[in-house]
């Protein structure tokens, strides 16, 4: 399993701290599994709140192991920028897709599922299922 290609995860938030903290949280919940490639793309290149297309494309390239890249985004420009980059056609890995999921819960589900060696469809399904988890 150690040489298995794992799905990569990109976490896009308006805030660098949110993106990196959610990555840390999700990886912390994996336990002893293989190291899932996770990259945070938070905030603008200048360190402010917002979205950077450059940070997103770099993050996606860095987690691409050939098994697909699942991108999760928080709000507004983060979602729209990922969609616009996907529409460009040559900015993100061919296998990259925007996953429709709640950011924190979806990231945990995606990373834990990716750690099992699951394929991109399974990772996407697990992340999307997080919408169904009611807290009250």
């Amino acid at each position: 399993m150690s040489d298995e290609k794992l799905v990569g995860i990109v976490l896009v938030s308006h805030s660098a701290e949110v993106a990196s903290a959610v990555a840390e949280l999700a990886l912390g919940l994996v336990g002893g599994g293989p190291a899932v490639p996770v990259a945070a793309a938070g905030g603008t290149e200048g360190g402010g709140l917002g979205t950077s297309a450059e940070l997103i494309t770099a993050a996606a390239a860095s987690v691409d192991r050939g098994a697909g890249v699942a991108v999760l985004a928080d709000l507004g420009s983060a979602v729209l920028t990922v969609k616009a980059l996907l529409a460009e056609g040559d900015e993100l890995p061919d296998t990259a897709r925007l996953v429709d999921a709640p950011f924190v819960e979806g990231a945990v589900a995606a990373v834990v599922t990716a750690a099992t060696g699951a394929d991109l469809d399974s990772v996407e399904a697990a992340a999307a299922e997080a919408y169904g988890y009611r807290k009250v």
């Binding site: 603008t44 402010g48 709140l49 917002g50 979205t51 950077s52 297309a53 450059e54 507004g76 420009s77 729209l80 920028t81 969609k83 616009a84 980059l85 529409a87 460009e88």
Partner: protein
């Protein structure tokens, strides 16, 4: 006929207008947004200007595709992918023709506006840039001046609307009574097109 130079001047005129009006756009974005619309668009169109000078694209379509790419990369807020998609799709719809007529531009711009509506999920009446762009495209067959007037009226008509998209939508009824900053900047884009057309002796 409109050549690459016309489209480059349209982008330059938009950049100048955004630069002049940046403070007003940000002021409009303060009560209902996150108060960065003017500064974000200024950063984006400054990058557009720099890219157009450096790369000198040779067709109308290439000018708009390059401009759109710069906006997606540099704006940092939702207006980047939205305006970037508008210009890129319009540019792609123009193809690689060396010159286009006004009818072809109108058709291409409609394709661009449709792409923006698809990307953002917004429809007319949602208090967004669409409320200026759709009337402008509808009026474009009557000339650039008609499109400018329609865009400005469309932007002003967003004031009594309740926002249903973006950051302003969280405010619910409190978004009523404020002109939408995105519709306002969209009207600047169309006004710059009209100015460029007038300078070219079109109207």
């Amino acid at each position: 006929m409109l050549d690459a130079d016309f489209f480059r001047r349209w982008m330059t005129a938009t950049a100048a207008s955004v630069d002049r009006e940046a403070d007003r756009l940000t002021a409009l974005d303060s009560p209902i947004g996150d108060a960065d619309h003017g500064s974000n668009l200024r950063r984006g169109f400054t990058a557009v200007n720099a890219a157009l000078e450096k790369e000198a694209p040779e067709t109308p379509g290439a000018v708009l595709v390059l401009a759109g790419r710069q906006l997606i990369s540099t704006v940092g807020g939702a207006s980047g992918p939205l305006y970037g998609t508008l210009l890129r799709r319009t540019g792609k719809a123009l193809g690689d023709a060396a010159e286009v007529d006004e009818e072809r531009l109108a058709e291409a711009l409609r394709a661009g506006v449709d792409a923006v509506m698809q990307l953002g999920g917004a429809a007319p009446g949602d208090k967004t840039m669409i409320d200026a762009l759709v009337p402008a495209v509808d009026a474009l067959p009557d000339g650039f001046g008609a499109a400018r007037a329609a865009a400005e009226q469309g932007a002003e008509a967003t004031t009594p609307l309740q926002a249903r998209k973006g950051r302003a939508s969280y405010l619910g009824e409190r978004s009523i009574g404020h002109q939408d900053p995105g519709a306002t900047s969209a009207a600047l884009l169309i006004a710059a097109l009209a100015d460029t057309g007038a300078d070219a002796g079109g109207e």
